[in-house]
């Protein structure tokens, strides 16, 4: 544990100091340093995906679950494995297959005999009882199995035979899926998708990055990584994120942005009314606010600004908006729709009067 991390711990109680209750500048700086270090280590493991890595860290700080979507071989699984190493948390990997059962994930009660000869059902925890769960190729399991994750992801607990078992905290589900191999797959239902805070698309890397990969990674082996953040530090960082101030104007912007995704609203933009079938849920607004706070902390700010909201809006809202077939025919994608929304929904609800000219510059 280095000096900055120690500072974070020492100042943990002092985050709500001062008259306004904002996180102290030095605390913000210390947290930002830790996150930067985590990010740097991730960058060392995954090359050429800086923006993706930032969003992954943001999602992690927002205590959100994450769905990575991309072609095979782009490093989705490697990213999550690297993250687990850097966080020093308990990590489990679940390879989703069509014959995977819910009990294979959450565990099941097994009849056991104790030393006195008495028999009882003893719950054997499944692989989901870990801090970091990698659900690899999640769309290959049946919807029944996918649904086993619903309660775990939302409530952070599992219920088996009427008995509820809390999951260890922090708890993250990091899932991957392949968008092209549709045969023998089960697309995630909307309810399941809604529980993922972020859905990130992993894109291909540039040729220079590819050259760096083949030059530095023999047999594709990643570099050796050491944990940079432990569970306690992570808790402190979570507290910092929670202490990030969300101004009223920004929360109003988030609310208007999410509302604008609903086609049945009168104030929805024309493209939304034309191409969107279902808009984002209130859970999306909550996720947007939480991830914006994490983004602000990563940027070293005590408050959320409009820029942070715009930065995470695409990853939060994209998989929560259901476009209709007309949108597909017209070439509209969720990301394109979000970009259009960000252009059309003003940051501040009130416009500058027409008889006033905007400020210089």
């Amino acid at each position: 544990m280095d000096r900055e991390t120690a500072e974070v711990e020492d100042n943990a109680d002092a985050t709500q100091q001062d008259d306004g209750g904002l996180v102290a500048p030095q605390d913000i700086q210390a947290a930002q340093t830790v996150l930067k270090r985590l990010l740097d280590e991730l960058r060392r493991a995954i090359l050429g995906q800086d923006e993706l890595l930032e969003l992954v860290v943001i999602s992690l700080m927002a205590r959100g679950h994450m769905l990575l979507e991309g072609l095979p071989g782009l490093g989705k699984t490697e990213l999550i494995k690297s993250l687990s190493k850097l966080l020093g948390l308990e990590f489990r990997r679940l390879q989703f297959t069509p014959d995977l059962l819910p009990s294979d994930i959450v565990g099941s009660p097994i009849l056991e005999e104790n030393q006195h000869g008495a028999r009882s059902l003893v719950f054997h925890k499944g692989p989901i009882f870990a801090n970091l769960v990698l659900a690899d190729e999640i769309n290959r399991a049946s919807p029944k199995t996918q649904s086993a994750l619903l309660e775990a992801m939302q409530e952070r607990r599992v219920t088996v035979l009427g008995e509820t078992h809390p999951l260890p905290l922090p708890f993250f589900v990091l899932a991957t899926q392949n968008p092209i191999e549709l045969e023998g797959t089960y697309p995630l239902p909307e309810a399941q998708l809604d529980r993922f805070t972020f859905k990130l698309s992993v894109h291909n890397v540039s040729s220079s990055t590819l050259q760096e990969i083949i030059s530095t990674r023999q047999h594709g082996r990643p570099p050796e990584l050491e944990p940079v953040v432990d569970a306690l530090e992570l808790e402190n960082l979570f507290d910092k994120v929670d202490a990030i101030h969300l101004p009223d104007a920004v929360s109003n912007y988030i609310a208007r942005l999410v509302t604008a995704t609903h086609p049945d609203r009168d104030d929805a933009p024309e493209v939304v009314r034309k191409f969107v079938k279902f808009g984002a849920s209130p859970r999306a607004a909550i996720a947007l606010a939480g991830t914006s706070r994490a983004a602000a902390l990563l940027a070293g700010k005590p408050n959320v600004g409009f820029d942070e909201v715009k930065k995470v809006a695409g990853s939060v809202l994209g998989h929560r908006m259901i476009l209709d077939y007309a949108a597909r025919l017209e070439g509209w994608t969720p990301q394109k729709m979000i970009d259009s929304l960000l252009e059309q929904v003003p940051e501040i609800g009130r416009h500058l009067p027409e008889d006033l000219a905007p400020a210089d510059g």
């Binding site: 008259d19 209750g21 101030h245 700010k301 005590p302 408050n303 600004g305 008889d355 000219a357 210089d360």
Partner: protein, 471 residues
């Protein structure tokens, strides 16, 4: 209050002024349009209220108060102005945060330069205000400069015209009575009808029936005037010829002499019946009584005495004719006909009187035509005058009830002698052709136009129009 708060207040003030300008433009436009419309309506419909309408301009003050009240309902809040200023400063939400949660540590991170705040303030550009207000303002100001409409109604104008027309007729009647031209019974009858017409048009608008009555009365008086003038002229001409035959020693045949004496007698009788000789000198009246004994003209046998009596008679008749001319000139009676009669009379051999009469007639006609359009005998005022309708009948036509019209009058034909010839009368073919064509104006059936016989003159005109050398 620190520096940031002051700038927030300034920003808020500007935004609120901008919002006020927006609503003030809307309210002002409505007010100015309303004001202009009211001014216009008052000037056109109720000119008497015009000076008082200007007080409505004070309505601009409550309009502005209403605009301010309206804009205050959705007034820009301070936190909204903070957000806008934060955005303009590109402070990343820190200004908003510190506004909600003041923090001394983070306050130092805010922009410290006054110039940054100054540049972040919005500038006044009241283009929308101007675009909304200019047109209504021009309309309102222009409506104030619209001239007031004359404060008169159609009915009062009609009544005024009727009153004037009735007065003219009464003056004419008085003049004719003084001449005298009318018989006593006829004069009373005309007076009664004029009085009835004046009563009718005093309160009610002038109708077409009143106009008809006016025209009929005027025409009746003109006919009496013409009749009297014709008798005077006839007597004057007969007396003149009798006198001239005596003076020049010209021997008239017995038949001619008898005819002249008969004409003179009948004319003098008619004039006497109308009291034409009441104003004559007593000696002339006495002579006339002697001359008209037994209903026949008995001129003295003495040539000198006869010449003297005829000269006196001629002089009196000439004076009476002058009076009638004066009446005609003063009351504009029968412009064309009077002119024609005077021309005809001038040709009849009155000594020196024809040219004078023609000159007077020409002058009076010219002066009348200069002041009034048209040259017809009976007119209904200026040709460009506004026509008065009113009291139109409804669909069932029940407006037209049976009503006794004024007594009809038949124009007396001119039984004047143009000349006496032993040969057959000359017939002017052109005049005859015109009459013939006029008679063709009866009901027409199909192909009437194509079958109509064209006169040679008409054929020439057609040929000339189409430029054909040969038919």
């Amino acid at each position: 209050m620190d520096s940031a708060d002051q700038w927030i207040d300034k920003f808020l003030k500007r935004v609120r002024i901008g919002e006020f300008l927006k609503h003030a433009a809307d309210f002002s436009a409505v007010f100015l349009f309303t004001f202009g419309t009211i001014v216009l309506l008052v000037k056109l419909l109720m000119p008497a209220l015009w000076p008082h309408v200007l007080w409505l301009a004070l309505g601009a003050l409550p309009t502005m108060i209403a605009a301010r009240w309206y804009v205050r309902r959705d007034w820009c809040r301070r936190d909204e102005s903070v957000a806008m200023l934060d955005n303009a400063l590109q402070a990343g939400g820190l200004l908003m945060t510190l506004h909600e949660r003041p923090d001394t540590n983070w306050k130092q991170q805010l922009p410290q330069l006054e110039l940054q705040y100054q540049q972040a303030l919005p500038k006044y550009r009241p283009r929308r205000f101007a675009s909304f207000v200019v047109l209504p303002l021009i309309f309102a100001v222009a409506s104030c400069f619209v001239p007031l409409r004359a404060a008169s109604s159609a009915s009062s104008a009609d009544n005024h015209v009727a009153h004037r027309a009735t007065e003219e007729l009464e003056e004419l009647l008085a003049a004719l009575n003084e001449a005298p031209v009318l018989e006593e019974q006829e004069q009373e009858q005309l007076e009664q009808e004029l009085q009835r017409l004046a009563d009718e048009t005093e309160k009610t608008p002038l109708t077409s029936e009143n106009w008809e009555t006016l025209d009929a009365l005027r025409e009746r008086m003109q006919i009496r005037l013409d009749s009297t003038e014709m008798n005077l002229t006839k007597a004057l001409e007969a007396a003149g010829q009798l006198k001239q035959s005596g003076a020049d020693g010209e021997q008239l045949t017995v038949e001619q002499k008898l005819r002249l004496e008969k004409n003179l007698t009948s004319a003098l009788k008619k004039l006497q019946n109308k009291g034409q000789f009441k104003n004559a000198p007593a000696e002339l009246q006495k002579n006339l009584l002697e001359l008209m004994k037994d209903g026949q003209l008995q001129l003295p046998q003495d040539a000198a005495q006869r010449q003297q009596q005829l000269e006196n008679l001629q002089k009196h008749l000439d004076d009476e004719l002058r009076k009638l001319d004066k009446i005609r000139e003063q009351h504009n009676c029968g412009q064309c006909r009077g002119e024609g009669q005077r021309d005809g009379r001038s040709e009849s051999g009155r000594n020196g009187r024809g040219e004078q009469g023609q000159r007077q007639g020409g002058n009076s006609s010219q002066s009348q035509n200069n002041s009034r359009p048209g040259s017809g005998g009976i007119n209904r005022g200026r040709g460009d005058a506004q026509m008065s309708w009113g009291d139109e009948s409804d669909e069932q036509g029940i407006k037209f009830k049976e009503r006794l019209l004024p007594e009809g009058l038949q124009e007396q034909p001119k039984d004047e002698v143009k000349g006496i010839k032993a040969s057959a009368p000359d017939v002017d073919p052109a005049t005859a052709a015109t009459r013939g064509l006029a008679r063709e104006g009866g009901p027409a059936a199909g192909e009437t136009t194509t079958r109509r016989r064209l006169s040679p003159k008409h054929r020439a005109a057609v040929r000339k129009f189409f430029g054909k050398a040969d038919p």
